[in-house]
Structure formats: structure tokens, C-alpha cells
């Protein structure tokens, strides 16, 4: 139980920190972030700006909830969902050979950092996110059965 608690806390803080850090530069530079979304060549043009406006705030809100441990089922589910979408977008463009700046943490051009490296890093984040959601689900079941007992 204690080990679970430590892993749970570490995952929450790590993912929360990652999401908050990732949101800040995008919130500061919405036009540059819109350009990055455009470069992914996935969303229709009409949705690009709205995504550039809302997505960084979604990351910030989720990051804060994770760090403070509030609304955990919702926050952990959205964490998993977002990381899956980011991961799939990178994989999609890796597969079709489109070299894009991932825009994961910064709206500046990443330069030499490779798509493959971004993809491996995103894969690690995704595994962390899914692990967190499973832990939240387990904790919820435990606490519910305790209430009854």
C-alpha cells in the first residue's frame, strides 16, 4: 500500500509538472503554437486557432489538478487521453515521413532534436499516464470498499 502511495504521488507530481511546464510557453505564444498545430497537418484549418487557444489551458488546468490531487479520476483520464492523442499524432507524422517541430514544450523550433527522440519520450509519458489512471481506478475501488466495511 505504501509503495503504491509513493508511486501514485510521484506519477501525479511528475505528470502534473510536465503538463504545467508544457503549457506555459504555448500560453505566451498562441500564434506560434497555432503554426505548430498547422505543421502537424492533422486538424482542419477551421479548428487550428481554437485548439491553439484552448489546449494550453487544458494542459495547465490538468497539470494543477494532478499536482494538488484534486478531481483525480477526471484529471487522470484526460491526461491519458491527451497523451494518447499527442503520441498518435507524432506516430502518424513519423510514419508518413513528415519532419515537424513537435512543439511539445516550446513554440521555438527544436532544431536538431529528432522526431524519433520526441516519439520515445512521448511513449514514456504515455505509459506514465496510463499507469496513473490505473492507480486512480484502483484507489477508487479500495476507498469505496472501505466505506462499506
Amino acid at each position: 500500500m505504501t509503495r503504491f502511495r509513493i508511486i501514485y504521488l510521484l506519477l501525479r507530481l511528475a505528470l502534473g509538472g510536465i503538463f504545467i511546464y508544457a503549457s506555459l510557453d504555448k500560453i505566451l505564444h498562441p500564434a506560434a503554437f497555432a503554426e505548430i498545430i498547422f505543421n502537424y497537418q492533422i486538424l482542419p484549418g477551421a479548428l487550428i486557432n481554437l485548439t491553439a487557444i484552448v489546449l494550453p489551458w487544458l494542459e495547465l488546468v490538468i497539470g494543477l489538478l494532478l499536482v494538488f490531487g484534486i478531481f483525480m479520476p477526471g484529471a487522470a483520464a484526460l491526461t491519458g487521453l491527451l497523451l494518447t492523442v499527442f503520441w498518435a499524432s507524432l506516430l502518424f507524422n513519423l510514419a508518413r515521413g513528415l519532419d515537424i517541430d513537435c512543439g511539445c514544450f516550446s513554440t521555438q523550433s527544436a532544431g536538431s532534436a529528432s522526431m524519433a527522440w520526441h516519439f520515445i519520450r512521448d511513449s514514456v509519458f504515455l505509459i506514465m499516464g496510463l499507469a496513473l489512471f490505473i492507480l486512480v481506478l484502483k484507489r477508487d475501488k479500495l476507498s469505496s470498499s472501505k466505506e462499506v466495511a
Binding site: I27, P30, G45, N49, I53, V54, P73, A77, S144
Partner: protein, 171 residues
């Protein structure tokens, strides 16, 4: 007991669903309000079509219609610049075009464009609706003083599909 487990599961997923919805709404509201209030906010929707994006520093469109490009080519009025890499250029390009990938403009400028007057009509192209190399090249040329630069969107594909003259090898 089994039905109890089922109940817990359902309530967990319900909780997940309404919390997710609330979080999404909070982010949507915060994003829209902040974007509205800030100085460098962006419009909620924008035109991301090539025609709307490929504009000069002063804001006028650089796009040249295929028919106009064809006429300029036939009359020998325009210099065509292929912005793709050398390998692609040698596999096939618009007849008479020269090769100048925008990332190599520093080293190749004098060699490729040393003999070209700045008011000459230059048509840049690459391949694919979303290829920006031709646009990047056009901007770089205008920065270097060329005054009559246009972009033929999806140029290589459009040119071939129209059955217009092409050639292979080095220029």
C-alpha cells in the same frame, strides 16, 4: 458482491465523465477569456489555405495561378526556381528551372542567381499542397532585393498534371 463491484465501476466512470467535462469547460472558458483580453490574442478561426498564408511581408498574396505561370514560361519571361532538394530536382523538374533549396541559399545564391536582375519575374515551386519550401524561398529572395517573386502552389504536381514541359538531370 458482483453487482456491488459493478456499481462501484459505474460510479467511477460517471465521476470520471463529469469531472472531465468540467475540466474541459474550465479550460475552454479560461482560454477564450484570456485570448479575448490579452494584447496578442489570435482570431478564433483563421484561413490556413495556401493562398491566405503565402503573403509577402507587406501582406499581398504571392500566389501565381497555374495559367499565368504557364504563359510566363512559354514566353520565357520567368525564371523558375525549384525549392526541393537536389535529388528530387534531378529526378525531374520544370523545363529550364534552376535548383535552390531555401536552406542552402547562403552558399548557392551567387552561383544560382548571380546573373539575374532583381526585377526579373521569379516563380518558386516545390511539391505538395502543404509544401512551404517555395514560400520560404520566395521570402528569402524578397529579403535579398528581388521585387517580382511569385509562388506556384503544389508546382511540380500541377505542372506535370497539366502536361507542361519538364526535364530531368542537373540544370
Amino acid at each position: 458482491l458482483e453487482s456491488y463491484g459493478e456499481m462501484v465501476r459505474v460510479s467511477f466512470y460517471q465521476k470520471t465523465a463529469w469531472q472531465s467535462l468540467l475540466i474541459l469547460l474550465a479550460a475552454l472558458t479560461a482560454g477564450l477569456i484570456f485570448n479575448h483580453l490579452r494584447a496578442n490574442g489570435i482570431p478564433l478561426t483563421a484561413d490556413w489555405s495556401p493562398e491566405a498564408r503565402m503573403v509577402s511581408a507587406s501582406g499581398h498574396s504571392l500566389v501565381i495561378p497555374t495559367e499565368e505561370a504557364r504563359q510566363a514560361h512559354a514566353a520565357g519571361q520567368a525564371l523558375f526556381l525549384d525549392a526541393r532538394s537536389q535529388e528530387w530536382f534531378e529526378m525531374g523538374h520544370i523545363q529550364g528551372a534552376r535548383n535552390l533549396p531555401p536552406e542552402e541559399i547562403e552558399g548557392l545564391f551567387a552561383q544560382v542567381l548571380g546573373d539575374v536582375p532583381p526585377d526579373r519575374l521569379i516563380v518558386t515551386y516545390c511539391d505538395g499542397e502543404d509544401c512551404d519550401l517555395s514560400y520560404d524561398l520566395a521570402l528569402a529572395l524578397m529579403e535579398r532585393g528581388f521585387t517580382n517573386v511569385r509562388v506556384l502552389i503544389n508546382g511540380w504536381t500541377v505542372w506535370r498534371e497539366a502536361g507542361l514541359p519538364v526535364e530531368e538531370g542537373r540544370s
